[in-house]
């Protein structure tokens, strides 16, 4: 079975500065894969490289076996990869309902249509309602996204990301800044919504990582030093030295 995501020898330089060095990553179909690493290790850059936000200097990235490196973000998205952002990135002046609906439109084939009434598209309506139900925001559907609480905006962020029905979902620190109770809620949400899909997640909260992930990759200075099951990663001396040791104090 081809890997959902395959990163081969990817490098990223900004001028003389090497941010990502010889990055290799394999995410199997249906796997929940967490990327961890200290601050500044290049986790978000890795996300940006895979999702097309920035282009790799060299190397190759494949999605379900097809090369996607060099494609633009919307082309990659149309091939079935969707991502969220670490900093909340919603459509602030539009309502919750419209935020999610916009994310449903391309996947349901309506594209740039200017001859259809957007309110009269049953499958769009149904799917939007389902997703709002899923992210527990049905009661807030007519509120402008900019007026939501922080935790609600994070949930909306996840809703927009999964709305297209992409089979590979990448979440960049979905629980950052959340309280303990909110984090638990968000993890349950992520677990449920990514059922049957491939998930790549960047996360700082180790309880989230070890509770959620099937496999973990450890990124240090733009290079993956270890990849394996949570148990293997816990036992890996290199990881303990580079990361977990620091974290444990």
């Amino acid at each position: 079975m081809t890997a959902a995501i395959e990163v081969r020898a990817v490098e990223k330089h900004f001028g003389n500065v090497s941010i990502i060095r010889d990055l290799n990553l394999n995410v199997a179909q249906g796997e929940r894969h967490a990327i961890i690493g200290p601050n500044g290790a290049g986790k978000s850059t890795t996300f940006n490289l895979i999702s097309g936000h920035i282009k790799p200097s060299s190397g190759e990235i494949r999605l379900n076996g097809n090369v996607i490196s060099g494609l633009r973000p919307f082309e990659i998205n149309r091939r079935g990869l969707s991502r969220s952002f670490q900093v909340t990135n919603v459509f602030a002046r539009m309502t919750v309902w419209e935020n999610v609906r916009c994310a449903v439109l391309w996947a349901t084939g309506h594209r740039y249509a200017f001859w259809k009434n957007v309110d009269h598209l049953p499958e769009v309506k149904q799917r939007t309602a389902e997703i709002l139900e899923d992210i527990h925001l049905s009661h807030r559907r007519d509120v402008p996204a900019g007026l939501l609480t922080y935790a609600e905006q994070r949930e909306l962020e996840i809703g927009i990301t999964i709305a297209s029905g992409a089979n590979v979902v990448m979440l960049d620190e979905p629980t950052a800044g959340m309280s303990h109770a909110e984090t638990e809620r968000a993890v349950a949400l992520i677990r449920r919504l990514t059922e049957g899909r491939t998930l790549v997640i960047v996360e700082h909260d180790m309880s989230v990582v070890f509770g959620l992930a099937d496999r973990i990759s450890v990124l240090v200075y733009g290079h993956i030093i270890a990849s394996g099951t949570p148990k293997e990663i816990r036992g890996n001396p290199k990881v303990r030295e580079a990361y977990l040791g620091e974290e444990a104090h």
Binding site: G52, R72, N77, V90, F91, C102, A107, Y112, S164
Partner: protein, 431 residues
């Protein structure tokens, strides 16, 4: 589930009824208007206002819907007008069977064609880059229009005769009343079409591009394509407005596509309120009316435009529509009555302040501009002599006194507003 569904259906039905009611009322108003105000002057004004409404709404496809600030929108308006004039002359010369009511569509095609031509490069980026390119293209086309004499007719422009085209329903479109109804028809058609556009998948994605072009790329859309299509629609409807202007004046000249015209439409959309669909309609009505009215009573009408614009930008960035919509939750919560008295109180000193400012401006303008005759300033029926030493004193008293008192009353307005919104919030009509 069925319990919850029933009120929603009811709500949707009454909403639809109200929605069609508004459009029907607008259509009736357009038909009845010239019957109530039938003088030649008001017919001309209504015609110009109608054209301005289409133009301002087309501009708002860019500014309000897609977040593109254009300084050269009149290019599409003007080129639409020129194409319309050329086609009208050709129809008359070669006896083509195209009646006059279809000519605005020709204007639209002209505006659209140029938008398709330059739009792809222009809409590559939004923000400052787009604004600067639009300014450049505007100047480029405006100056070319004076150079390419065979197409644009130089300073004089190109004239036409609207009555020379095939008649329709026995209408020659010679009388202004018939032209007014032609314009009114196109106002309805264009406004409905542009409103419908906001309710399509494209229209909603335009809003998404306005709010967050980066994120749009990650839900499958190319923001460049979205902006390009929006630009095409804006150009098309601006061209319709230009075509109507060509019919109305029976001429197209370089002033149609210049910076002044581009400024006018930006002004109308902004003053009216770009965030709401109906905002630019209000703006177009007000700005056209002011333009026609002010030039008769003052020589410095542009100065007043500037003051109004700065005032709106500083104190009501949402425009007139924004101010009106602020009151909607108060109306629903029935707490509007709490702010009205404070408005009435504040209106008196504010009006005094405004009169003082007007008297100051007119005194300076007439003192320097014209000696002797014409130096009598007529303010609310009271004549002031611009050269009399008492006039500046009165102006100063009005400005200073008006301002000091107005400041106190504005504070009262703010307090009343706070109380009213608290009530609205308590009753659940305000987030």
């Amino acid at each position: 589930m069925s319990d919850a569904a029933a009120p929603t259906v009811l709500k949707e039905e009454s909403g639809a009824l109200r929605f069609y009611g508004i459009w029907l009322a607008a259509a009736v108003a357009l038909i009845v208007l010239p019957l109530v105000f039938s003088s030649g002057g008001s017919l001309t004004s209504f015609s110009l206002i109608g054209i301005a409404i289409i133009f301002a709404l087309s501009y708002n496809i860019l500014l309000g819907q897609t977040g593109l600030l254009s300084f050269g929108h009149a290019v599409h308006y003007g080129l639409g007008g020129f194409l319309a004039v050329h086609v009208m002359n050709a129809v008359a010369n070669y006896n083509w069977p195209i009646p006059l009511p279809f000519i605005p569509l020709v204007g639209g095609v002209g505006g659209l064609a140029f938008a398709i031509l330059i739009g792809w490069v222009m809409t590559k980026r939004a923000g400052t880059v787009f604004a600067m390119i639009s300014l450049g293209i505007g100047e480029l086309v405006a100056s070319s229009s004076l150079i390419l004499r065979s197409v644009f007719g130089g300073e004089a422009g190109i004239t036409t005769d609207r009555t020379a085209l095939p008649h329709m329903f026995g209408w020659s479109f010679g009388p202004q009343l018939q032209v007014y109804y032609l314009i009114a028809f196109w106002v309805m058609v264009s406004a409905i079409a542009m409103y419908a556009l906001t309710r399509t998948p494209l229209g909603r994605i335009c809003n998404a591009v306005r709010d967050n072009p980066e994120r749009v790329q990650f839900i499958g859309y190319d923001p460049h394509v979205v902006r390009y299509i929006a630009y095409g629609f804006a150009g098309f409807f601006a061209g319709i407005a230009g075509g109507l202007t060509a019919i109305n004046f029976e001429i197209a000249n370089s002033a149609y596509l210049g910076a002044t015209q581009s400024g006018f439409v930006l002004f109308a959309a902004f003053i009216g309120g770009a965030a709401y669909f109906f905002g630019p309609i209000l703006g177009a009505i007000l700005v056209t009316y002011l333009q026609l009215g002010l030039t008769n009573v003052t020589t410095v009408s542009l100065l007043y435009f500037g003051i109004i614009f700065i005032g709106i930008v500083m104190f009501a960035p949402g425009g007139i529509a924004g101010i009106l919509m602020m009151h909607r939750p108060l109306i629903r919560a029935r707490s509007l009555g709490m702010v009205i008295p404070s408005y009435l109180v504040a209106a008196v000193p504010t009006l005094v302040l405004a009169l003082g400012v007007i008297l100051s401006i007119e005194t300076v303008a007439r003192y320097t501009a014209s000696e002797g005759e014409g130096n009598i300033i007529n303010l609310l029926g009271i004549p002031f002599n611009a050269t009399a030493p008492t006039t500046p004193v009165v102006a100063a008293v009005l400005v200073v006194g008006g301002f000091l008192v107005a400041r106190i009353t504005w504070r009262r307005v703010a307090e009343a507003w706070d109380r009213a919104t608290t009530v609205a919030r308590d009753r659940g009509y305000l987030a």
